[in-house]
């Protein structure tokens, strides 16, 4: 269907609109998120991903609830997360929640695991934040087994042992959800993704590209080391952010007050410096397309491109206008990325493709067995 997937990822922050001097209620923010996700499908995007946070000013504490609600109102959109906290969620509950979402969405889902953005979240869920990396590894190894094996006996460091446990529902068609691992600093997370042949995602929004290249290259090398394919065949996802108007100057003028007051980079570098130094584009649709295409030059051909659009207090109306403009250049982005893509780079993962691959592998195994027996 589509070799590369494009979509949105949201942090889910409630940030005051510095221009209109308004602030969305939590209820408005949550319902606006649904509107944005449905708009994503309308303009032809492939993916919508929500963050998971457990403190103000963020609203998305229950991703599978939100994603199931969106799944019920969409037909093609793949629902995902950015990120699901592998550290502080019980892997047993993650296995159940996301398998349920997989059934309800008919396989139109995957998930991205991460460690969250705030240290205090650990004790809220009964964990020790100084063990973040160890928790990530142990929890994911358990989640993997809960999906890959019907009956699990397990003992680890951070939760009570499991004896003869079966996580229900079992994954749809016997193929667990595809897993991405999001990280921009931690080589252990890249190693984890590589060992299991999972996807690796760099948020690619706040820092210069050089900061992300090292770990993406490390992930690609380790993906090969563990026998999943060539380095260029590893499954890579990237973030990005933009603000576009037909006229470049209009985009700059309109976005500047939002940029200057944004939670992450506001009151710091100028808009001009930040756009020159990071993947952010503020300009015309053509400038946006050109800059986005450079990502593949730096990071290699990749499978998934997500954009952060609903942030910095931008009102819903402007976000939807941004998506209309994105929709207009989306065919160009797809065509340009496809044109440069070597044949041996795999397509973005989908449930249908993974089921087909599993079936093909099983048939090949049967044929081999028959060949031996004859």
């Amino acid at each position: 269907m589509t070799s590369m997937q494009f979509g949105l990822f949201t942090v889910g922050d409630v940030t005051p609109d510095p221009v209109n001097k308004t602030i969305q209620t939590e209820h408005e923010r949550i319902t606006n998120t649904i509107t944005i996700a449905k708009k994503a499908e309308e303009i032809g995007l492939d993916v919508f991903a929500t963050g998971e946070h457990h403190n103000p000013p963020f609203v998305p504490s229950s991703p599978t609830t939100t994603l199931a609600y969106i799944a019920a109102q969409t037909e093609k959109l793949i629902l995902s997360t950015s990120t699901t906290l592998i550290t502080t969620n019980d892997p047993v509950k993650l296995a159940e929640d996301y398998a349920t979402l997989q059934h309800l969405s008919d396989g139109r889902m995957d998930l991205m695991l991460g460690r969250g953005n705030t240290a205090p979240v650990y004790p809220w869920f009964g964990y020790d934040g100084s063990k973040a990396v160890e928790l990530t590894i142990e929890h994911y190894q358990l989640l993997r087994r809960l999906w890959d094996e019907d009956v699990v006996g397990w003992e680890g460091q951070f939760r009570t042992p499991l004896q003869g446990f079966t996580a229900t529902p079992r994954p749809l068609d016997g193929v667990p959800p595809f897993v991405w691992h999001g990280s921009i600093r931690t080589p252990e997370v890249a190693e984890l993704a590589a060992f299991y042949g999972d996807g690796y995602f760099a948020n690619n929004i706040f820092w210069p590209k050089e900061h992300y290249i090292r770990l993406i290259n490390f992930y690609r090398q380790r993906y090969q080391h563990y026998g999943h394919g060539e380095p260029e065949q590893a499954i890579v996802g990237l973030g990005g952010q933009f603000f576009i108007r037909k006229s470049s100057q209009d985009a700059v003028n309109e976005f500047r007050p939002y940029f200057d007051n944004a939670p992450v980079y506001g009151h710091g570098p100028s808009l001009e410096d930040f756009t020159a130094q990071t993947p952010l584009t503020v300009g015309s649709p053509q400038e946006f397309v050109e800059k986005t295409l450079t990502f593949a030059d730096y990071f290699g051909d990749y499978q998934r491109q997500l954009f952060l659009v609903d942030h910095a207090g931008l009102p819903l109306k402007i976000v939807l206008e941004q998506l209309d403009l994105l929709g207009e250049v989306l065919p160009t982005l797809r065509a340009e990325f496809d044109a440069r893509r070597p044949a041996n780079v795999p397509d973005a993962p989908t449930h249908a493709a993974r089921v087909a691959a599993r079936n093909a592998a099983a048939e090949a195994a049967v044929e081999t067995d028959e060949g031996v027996s004859v």
Binding site: V133, L142, E155, P269
Partner: protein, 199 residues
């Protein structure tokens, strides 16, 4: 060729802090033939340092300066003393360095102040900071108050400068500490090995 970088946190132009840095540079060059010295003036990077504090990444000019500091064989760090300690600009620059940037690096600490009563700030404020960074600080700290720039006739300041610079040169001629920042990923740590050995 031994590479020395002098960090000057002087805020005015001209600045006595920069003068002291230049004196130390001159002394190092005089005592060590084969040396290249570059001065990084933090005043010119003040906006970038603030930006990096907020964004978590260094803009290009600041990154150049950081790269020079990390690549240097030895450092000369010179700061004014305000309110009993180094100013925020100096600390903010240190804060945007990676935690292991100065591990094992030979460093001369020097400071200027409006009165000789600030002179122990090198030992009370700067040494603990560089101890935390695991830098190798030479025994002699060089403090210069207005009194020292005057003509007291003994050239005590010049002697301290030469002594501190000589200690740095001597360290650099030896085996050094054998330590430094590493960009390598340790594939054989217990944590790393546990990834490919699931329970």
């Amino acid at each position: 060729m031994t590479r020395i970088v002098a960090i000057s946190a002087g805020l005015s132009d001209p600045s006595t802090t920069r003068m002291l840095a230049d004196r130390l540079v001159e002394s190092v060059e005089r005592q060590s033939g084969d040396v290249s010295v570059e001065v990084v003036s933090l005043r010119e990077l003040a906006h970038e340092i603030t930006d990096a504090t907020l964004t978590g990444f260094a803009p290009p000019r600041l990154q150049d300066a950081i790269d020079k500091v990390v690549a240097a064989d030895g450092l000369i760090a010179v700061t004014p003393i305000f309110k009993a300690s180094y100013p925020g600009l100096f600390k903010s620059f240190v804060d945007v360095l990676e935690a292991d940037a100065l591990i094992g690096k030979p460093v001369v600490l020097a400071a200027t102040g409006g009165t000789a009563r600030h002179s122990l700030a090198i030992d009370h404020a700067l040494r603990p900071l560089f101890a935390y960074l695991q830098a190798l600080v030479v025994p002699t700290g060089v403090f210069a108050s207005p009194h020292d720039w005057g003509t007291d006739g003994t050239n005590a300041l010049g002697q301290r400068i030469d002594r501190a610079a000589g200690e740095l040169v001597s360290l650099l001629k030896g085996a050094g500490t054998g330590r430094g920042p590493s960009d390598d990923i340790d594939l054989f740590s217990d944590t790393f090995l546990s990834i490919s050995q699931p329970r």
